[in-house]
């Protein structure tokens, strides 16, 4: 009798554990993981290590990143209340420039990759939104907390924000943009953005 009960308890415990591990590896996590693994594979590819392959390497990373990152959503969220005043052309121009700035920032980060471990620790899904929590363990064994925020659009989970140690990229740019907009104008903002993207490439 006691033995039977014990088995029941053990079994339900096992089920709980199993359920937990399933919930961690949901669909959004799988998408982030796939993208991350592909990028790591490109960065570590010995065929692309030489300096003259740098352009080819960043082109490949770019195409993988483009698939997963929703530049339009990011642009909308960073321009926030200034977004709806933009014409279609302005919107397109902004998405292009801002996307390129983010890509470059992201590329700089990724290219410094040297075998850091990526752990997938948590996933929250609520309707069409999800947060995938990741820990990056550096060589000095410090853990960096990274959260990807995703939105489901046409059955595709797309990243619209990344926060590192609680600092959200979108929020940070939104503050900068609104500070520039209140001080000067949208034209000035675009000029600053353009010189950032084109100036230091």
């Amino acid at each position: 009798m006691l033995c039977k009960r014990l088995i029941m308890v053990l079994f339900s415990l096992f089920m709980l554990v199993a359920a937990e591990s399933v919930s961690v590896a949901g669909e959004p996590t799988e998408h982030v993981r796939k993208t991350t693994d592909r990028i790591i594979a490109i960065v570590m590819d010995p065929g692309l290590k030489e300096a003259d392959k740098a352009r080819e390497k960043s082109r490949q990373i770019r195409s993988v990143v483009d698939e997963r990152f929703d530049w339009e959503e990011m642009s909308k969220r960073t321009l926030a209340r200034y977004w709806k005043d933009r014409t279609e052309n302005e919107k397109e121009e902004f998405i292009d420039l801002f996307g390129r700035l983010l890509e470059r920032t992201y590329l700089d980060k990724v290219e410094g990759y040297s075998g850091e471990k990526v752990l997938y620790v948590d996933e929250k899904v609520e309707g069409k939104y999800a947060i995938v929590s990741v820990r990056i363990v550096t060589r000095q064994e410090t853990e960096i907390q990274v959260d990807y925020r995703l939105q489901n659009k046409k059955n595709e989970w797309l990243v619209y924000d990344i926060s590192i140690e609680g600092v959200s990229l979108v929020n940070n740019y939104r503050k900068q943009f609104s500070s520039i907009m209140t001080r000067s104008s949208y034209k000035d903002l675009i000029e600053k953005l353009r010189s950032k993207v084109e100036g230091e490439n």
């Binding site: 209340r81 609520e126 939104y129 000095q140 609680g166 959200s168 953005l193």
Partner: protein, 299 residues
């Protein structure tokens, strides 16, 4: 550094921090949060949830009269249709507490430029030279030593917030690392026992008692801070064993500078990356500090 001077500076800062809510006329928000601060006796998580709520209320109440950014934001926010995007379910967690007031922006910007020059002209070249002489392993050990040394700051900050487990972990960490870890040069408590360092300081402890950040400060040499966190920094001068072991001013500053130089040598490139990615590095830094601290306080 005279102990009495330190005491009065600390006291003055605390008084200023406490008086801010009453100056603005939001005294009830502050008393609310202090009441929930006494929720020590409740469970840790409950106390934290309470304090987080109180803190965000306090922040909201505080942000509008002082911050010029948020003033325009709140006047625009009356019409919810203005924003182009629909809120995600986690919107209130981070975005509700929008930004830290910055009434001293001209002064802060001046010090930002000063620190920027200090970094590129002094700290970075010296740090790069230093890292060529001392290998990374050695620098990590030195960093561990200084980290272990300031255990009292973390332990007391844990205790003040009712994080008794964290307090215990810090004590054990210090005993293990000081003995088996050769005066703290090795972090064996984490590697061997899995006892993670508790990322707590007095600024976070003050936030736990509902003290808002006050306003943003960018201090020469010390970098981004707030009124509350600066008060915390001053208070930490009492908890830092270095200040008791090396009481003379210049040797003390010497050790602190060495600590900063050593830490910087392990993080060269981070500030450059922030600057490269930002359209307005000052605003980027201010917001990053604000978000980073909120994240630390929530934990």
């Amino acid at each position: 550094m005279g102990t009495t001077v330190r005491f009065f500076v600390c006291l003055a800062f605390l008084l200023i921090s406490f008086s801010i809510p009453s100056v603005i006329g939001e005294a009830d928000a502050a008393s609310d949060s202090i009441a929930s601060g006494s929720a020590f006796l409740v469970t840790e998580t409950e106390a934290h949830e309470l304090i987080r709520l109180a803190y965000s209320e306090f922040q909201e109440a505080q942000a509008s009269p002082l911050g010029d950014d948020s003033r325009t934001a709140s006047s625009k926010k009356e019409d919810p249709q203005e924003d182009a995007v629909d809120a995600d379910p986690w919107e209130d967690e981070a975005e509700a507490i929008d930004s830290v007031p910055d009434p001293l922006e001209p002064m802060n910007r001046a010090f930002f430029v000063f620190n920027d020059k200090m970094y590129f002209w002094v700290l970075k070249p010296v740090g790069t030279g230093y890292s060529m002489v001392v290998p990374e392993f050695g620098r990590v050990c030195i960093r561990n030593f200084f980290t272990n040394l300031i255990m009292p700051i973390r332990a007391i900050s844990c205790l003040l917030q009712g994080k008794f487990e964290g307090f215990g972990i810090e004590l054990v960490r210090c005993v293990v690392n000081t003995t088996a870890g050769f005066l703290g040069f090795q972090d064996v408590a984490r590697q061997g026992l899995g006892f993670e360092i508790q990322d707590e300081d007095l600024g976070q402890a003050f936030a736990f008692y509902g003290i808002g950040p006050g306003f943003y400060l960018n201090l020469p040499f010390l970098g981004p801070s707030t009124l509350r966190d600066t008060a915390g920094w001053v208070g930490e001068l009492y908890l830092n064993p270095l200040d008791y072991m090396v009481d003379d001013f210049w040797p003390n500053v010497g050790f602190r500078t060495f600590d900063i130089l050593n830490k910087t040598s392990l993080r060269i490139g981070e500030y450059e990356a922030l600057k490269k990615a930002a359209l307005d590095p000052y605003v980027a830094m201010r917001d990053a500090y604000h978000q980073y601290r909120l994240n630390q306080i929530e934990k």
